[in-house]
């Protein structure tokens, strides 16, 4: 198939960017979206032009490195997948596709479609862990955990930190990401010990990074490639309230 691509090009965070049009021929429906981008870049390099910079790594939907807003949707039109798992069979011959970076105040553009998401690392550093040192762990079976709780903790823990939640939110809120980690650890006895301190610290860092608040539109969960539930945000808010009333 033949496609018209409109792609955001931007030198760096200081320079103004713009949409640039490209045509790609010979796109096979079996290609992944990023393989289609490879083909485009290959053509650009052969013509002596600079390829489009985009983040990607595992190309199997788990590392969370790929991003891109495709036709207005983070990770494109398909539900529950990342951009790297999107295949060209989701598009038709002659389509125009608009490709932009994940936009948010907390994510400055590095180049073209690459943004700096290190704010997410700093939020985890603020408290997204259990304070246990190497070597001081009790036997793995010492604390039984209900299967349902373990499964729910797992569901929250499947977040890949890609930031589609922020990109989809009109407030550029990071609350789905932040709450997924908080809920995962709060559901487990070993994480619950520090829940209150954790929620305060992580929310404070989230605010400092310039992410907005949640107004319950649910776009984050709808666009999340791992379909992380909004219930996590509710849980985080409850914990936050509790920790405000009684911090210890």
């Amino acid at each position: 198939m033949k496609l018209t691509l409109h792609i955001w090009r931007q030198r760096d965070s200081e320079t103004k960017g713009e949409m640039v049009q490209y045509i790609v021929d010979d796109v096979s429906e079996h290609m992944s979206f990023l393989e289609m981008m490879d083909v485009l870049n290959d053509n650009l390099v052969k013509k002596g032009e600079e390829p489009i910079a985009f983040d990607h790594d595992c190309r199997e939907g788990i590392c969370g490195m790929c991003s891109m807003v495709i036709n207005g949707q983070p990770h494109g039109p398909q539900k529950g997948v990342t951009t790297c798992q999107l295949h060209m069979r989701s598009f038709n011959d002659g389509d125009s596709i608009y490709i932009e970076p994940f936009r948010a105040k907390g994510f400055p553009v590095v180049r073209d479609l690459i943004v700096d998401r290190s704010a997410f690392d700093r939020i985890i550093q603020a408290g997204g862990y259990v304070s246990v040192g190497t070597g001081s762990a009790p036997d793995g079976n010492a604390i039984p955990i209900k299967k349902e709780e373990a499964d729910e903790a797992f569901n929250a823990a499947t977040c890949i930190g890609c930031a589609a939640c922020v990109a989809s939110c009109k407030n550029a809120s990071a609350m789905l990401f932040v709450s997924a980690k908080i809920a995962q650890l709060d559901r487990l006895p070993q994480g619950k010990v520090e829940s209150k301190e954790r929620v305060s610290k992580m929310i404070a860092q989230m605010d400092e990074e310039g992410f907005g608040n949640c107004t319950n539109t649910g776009a984050c969960s709808a666009e999340c490639p791992k379909e992380i539930s909004l219930e996590n945000i509710a849980r985080m808010n409850r914990l936050h309230l509790k920790s405000t009333i009684s911090p210890t």
Binding site: G48, G140, K147
Partner: protein, 667 residues
């Protein structure tokens, strides 16, 4: 004659590690604060090492090429992690895990290292549970296990099909905690360009910030390479796009010997190649072989009909199917180790029984598992098993709970529904058992330079068993290096900070910059990926699942000329001092082009078949690998001599005091 000393402690196998820990030198806490360590890579080995060493008090700098440490490719590991917990009461023990791993590696790994790995395996599970890793659990609240290829006990812990992700996020959280207290400094989007040696010791690194193009030096008292494997030599592999061998190869050029480079693991269950544009291959977890049955048609005409779309696999009757693993290996069936399963698939496809358009695929079929689980559920729920629709529906639900995300991933890529029609799979490059040679303390042949996880060679021999890679990465990082590095650093307590003003840093920076500039200045006509693809094809064809003398010699010749062509005609647009993705690729491919040749040389040198290294010339009449213990019970370690064409061969004799070398049989 063997000339490499492994520094394995004396004494009985089961006591070596304890004895070593008791006698190893320690660095006191006050002195640890004055010692700097550089960690390259933030995967399971890198993150666990950086976090654990920082907890001890050392100052850590961690460099990685992704935008966040949580994205290292350990994240993609699906199936699980082994540990000799014997929670299932099925006869497991440290010795048995050790024995399975040694046997699985076809007796080409180092006994003492493997025993230590099995010994610390149980601690890893405890550590991860304490961090909040949500492993699968039973209804009673205890940890669940499953079995994995090549063994007969259930010792694999898992988190659905995303075990690597959960373990890495655990290590990442431990690392984040140390970043917060200022003990670890993180350098994202940074790539190692060189190891800097002063007075023969590794004293730092030269790195490039890929986001800005800036090249800088960092000094330290020791450098840990945790940069993973080199499977991307093949271009198509299950590795991430950015996975590369540059840190290992540049270390090799500075004196670190490269061990068993030809020992690569071809994983049997991957989604087959669909076209020339393909950028990577996707693994379907080995755990699928617990329930999936592998087959091809018994008659060639049926294979042809399936290939041409005239016949559906579900229409083919049982008598016309060949469950070739169950036929050839009745004892282990579909659970034979990876090397055996891969070769058997290749054998059937080479013989013309392949089932996709290219003839390079076999079926992995869940129909009988769905039926079996469905009937089980029907019995539990008191529903008549004659209600086939209900039975199949319940069966699909059980299979979905076990492998749902994998089935979804498969459908996403192929547009086929594996609940309705068998998956098509084919072997693909997955893991590299070879790597930098290390002694018992995980130190390379360069003093002060260590290699952990997939980057070293020591634990998996010629074939790695499933669910062992995660175990090894975390064992090295959490429980081995925090002890063994003390032995080396105890001499450095009076050294003081390593200044990057030293001439060695300046010289290395100039050299690194020169290499990158020269790549840009070639201004040829061919994109980097074209060279990488060609290299991959040669290595896959001649140094892949089966190798022979003639093919290897041919490949060496072709790789050399491809390398020459690369330096004449590669096109790298853009500049050195800015973000330049083509330059990053070109730099990595320049190393793959040299490493590829060494892999072929290594395979050519080893006149036997063992594990993943199968030489056509050395096989039994039944087509099984024929080892030569008399002449090849050693590790090949290659020294860089200044020219990639002339590597120097060294040996470490492997001594087996505790296991008898047997022909590996899974029949």
């Amino acid at each position: 004659m063997a000339d490499l000393i492994s520094n394995v402690p004396d004494g009985p196998l089961a006591d070596k590690w304890t004895k070593h820990k008791n006698t190893i030198r320690l660095v006191n806490p006050a002195n640890k604060r004055n010692i700097d360590i550089i960690v390259i890579g933030s995967g399971l080995a890198g993150a666990s090492a950086a976090a654990s060493l920082a907890e001890l008090g050392y100052n850590i700098k961690c460099f990685f090429f992704q935008d966040s440490p949580r994205r290292a490719h350990s994240i993609a590991a699906q199936g699980g992690i082994n540990a000799a917990k014997n929670y299932q009461n099925d006869g497991d023990s440290i010795y048995r895990l050790f024995y399975d791993t040694i046997k699985g590696g076809d007796y080409r790994s180092r006994e003492a290292n493997v025993y230590r790995l099995a010994e610390v395996s149980a601690n890893i599970i405890d550590q991860c549970v304490a961090q909040g890793v949500p492993f699968a659990r039973e209804y009673g609240g205890t940890l669940a296990n499953r079995s994995f290829g090549g063994v007969q006990v259930s010792r694999t812990f898992y988190a659905r099909g995303q075990t690597g992700q959960q373990l890495l996020l655990g290590a990442y959280s431990a690392l984040s905690r140390q970043v917060a207290v200022g003990k670890v400094k993180m350098y994202n989007r940074h790539e190692l360009l060189d190891i800097v040696k002063i007075d023969g010791k590794a004293r730092g690194v030269v790195v490039r910030n890929n986001a800005t193009g800036e090249i800088a030096s960092h000094g330290a008292h020791a450098v840990l390479l945790c940069n993973g494997g080199y499977g991307n030599v093949f271009f198509l592999s299950t590795n991430a796009m950015g996975s590369n061998a540059t840190a290992s190869w540049r270390a090799h050029k500075r004196g670190a010997f490269f061990a068993n480079p030809s020992f690569t693991q071809i994983h049997p269950t991957c989604i087959p190649v669909s076209g020339d544009y393909q950028s990577k291959l996707t693994l379907m977890s080995e755990s699928l072989r617990n329930d999936g049955r592998i087959w091809v048609p018994l008659h060639k005409e049926d294979s042809i009909a399936i290939r041409e779309g005239r016949l559906k696999p579900t229409e083919l009757s049982e008598e016309r199917r060949d469950y070739y693993l169950e036929r050839r290996y009745p004892a282990f069936g579909n659970l034979v180790p990876r090397d055996v399963a891969s070769r058997a698939a290749k054998e059937r496809c080479d013989a013309g029984f392949g089932v996709n358009k290219t003839g390079q695929a076999v079926f992995l079929d869940f129909a009988s598992a769905i039926e079996r689980y469905g009937e089980e559920q029907a019995n539990i729920k008191g529903i008549s098993i004659k209600d086939r629709e209900a039975v199949m529906q319940m069966g699909r639900e059980v299979v979905s709970a076990k492998y749902g995300n994998l089935f979804q991933m498969y459908e996403q890529i192929t547009a086929d529904n594996p609940y309705e029609t068998p998956m098509k799979i084919f072997p693909a490059v997955h893991y590299t058992m070879g790597g930098l040679w290390v002694d018992y303390n995980l130190m390379t042949t360069v003093p002060g330079l260590f290699a952990l996880g997939e980057a070293n060679f020591s634990d998996h021999g010629a074939n790695r068993l499933g669910a062992s890679a995660l175990m090894q990465g975390l064992a090295d990082g959490y429980f081995v290096i925090p002890y063994t590095i003390g032995e080396y650093l105890a001499d450095d307590i009076r050294t003081g900070p390593i200044s990057t003003d030293h001439d060695a840093f300046k010289a290395a920076e100039i050299e690194a910059r020169g290499h990158l500039s020269s790549l840009i200045n070639i201004k040829g006509s061919v994109p980097v990926d074209d060279f990488h693809r060609k290299l991959g094809k040669f290595i896959w064809e001649y140094c892949g699942m089966a190798r022979n003398e003639k093919g290897l010699k041919y490949a060496i010749k072709e790789v050399r000329s491809l390398r020459a062509e690369f330096y004449e005609d590669v096109r790298v647009p853009g500049k050195l001092d800015e973000l330049n993705t083509e330059l990053e690729k070109a730099s990595r491919v320049s190393d793959f082009l040299e490493l590829g040749e060494l892999m072929c040389n290594d395979a050519l040198n080893r006149n036997e078949s063992c594990g993943g290294h199968f030489r056509d010339e050395y096989q039994t009449p039944e087509g099984e690998a024929l080892r030569n213990d008399k002449d090849y019970t050693f590790v090949s370690a290659w020294e860089y001599t200044g020219q990639p064409e002339k590597p120097k061969h060294h040996k470490e004799e492997l001594v087996f005091d505790n296991v008898e070398l047997k022909t590996r049989s899974y029949k």
